[in-house]
């Protein structure tokens, strides 16, 4: 490809309140036996034998997701922050996307009392400005509308 993209950092923040105490949320997030049971993503599995955690700053964070067609998507990264039971970060999640290089994800757990926990995920992606511009303009949903318009 002759044209180069200008890469910029983009942050996605996702929040969720969970009916579980903070220590339990931390365990489920950092114990490979537990992670294998929910990481996914949808229609994918992350088998236990394909998860390797060395839970300390700089330690390996390896997990391979297996698609519905059996194709494997390995992630080979490292832990950054490891502060139980409050903060965890891991990085260098690989993507297949040529406009996105790599990123670091931080997970923060806040004790809400009464056995509830607020989870805040901050995913930092390095992506091309062009992609961000299109996302900002809502291209994805705009195209859905256009398709309906053209089909009518």
């Amino acid at each position: 490809m002759s044209e180069q993209f200008e890469m910029a950092e983009h942050t996605i923040v996702i929040e969720r309140e969970l009916d579980a105490p903070r220590e339990l949320v931390w365990k489920v997030w950092t114990d490979p036996d537990e992670v294998a049971r929910w990481w996914g993503p949808e229609h994918f599995t992350t088998p236990r034998e394909k998860i390797e955690f060395d839970l300390r700053p700089g330690g390996v964070c390896r997990m391979t997701m297996v698609g519905p067609d059996g194709v494997e998507y390995p992630n080979d990264g490292h832990f950054g922050i490891v502060e139980p039971p409050a903060r965890l970060s891991f990085g260098e999640e690989k993507t297949e996307h040529p406009m996105i290089e790599s990123g670091e994800t931080t997970v923060e757990l806040f004790d809400l009392g009464e056995g509830r926990t607020k989870l805040v995920i901050t995913a930092r992606l390095i992506c091309a400005n062009e992609l961000l511009e299109m996302a900002r303009m809502g291209w994805g949903s705009q195209l859905d509308k256009l398709e309906v318009l053209l089909a009518s």
Binding site: V28, R37, W39, L131, W139
Partner: protein, 116 residues
């Protein structure tokens, strides 16, 4: 052989130019537009716009009328949506993951406390 990634690269290369992105935005709003109409708002010649349209057509981002003399251009949504919706999909993956996390937490707490 053309892989999915090659197709994405072609799409991205076509999108790397601001004039071409503006052309796509115009097509997204107006549906079918001729080259003369497209050239109007840009400080470039009709010939230059024609060249941009060729790049967009090769990338599969637009199709152009064959029979009509004016050959109006029209946006093709699929390749562009693959690109543009990536960040939305990324968020959806996380939302789905957190749904499963919440269910898993429910399960293990129910098992730990059978009286509940």
């Amino acid at each position: 052989m053309t892989t999915a990634t090659d197709q994405l690269s072609i799409t991205f290369a076509a999108l790397a130019d601001p004039t071409r992105r503006a052309i796509l935005a115009r097509l997204a709003e107006d549906g079918e537009v001729t080259v003369n109409e497209l050239a109007e708002p840009f400080p470039v010649s009709v010939q230059a716009v024609s060249k941009h349209l060729k790049v967009l057509e090769r990338a599969g981002l637009i199709t152009r009328g064959r029979s009509a003399q004016l050959r109006p251009s029209r946006l093709e949504g699929a390749p562009l949506r693959d690109v543009a919706s990536w960040l939305e999909q990324y968020r959806e993956i996380w939302e789905g993951r957190l749904d499963r996390l919440a269910h898993h937490l429910q399960d293990i707490q129910r098992k730990a406390d059978p009286n509940e």
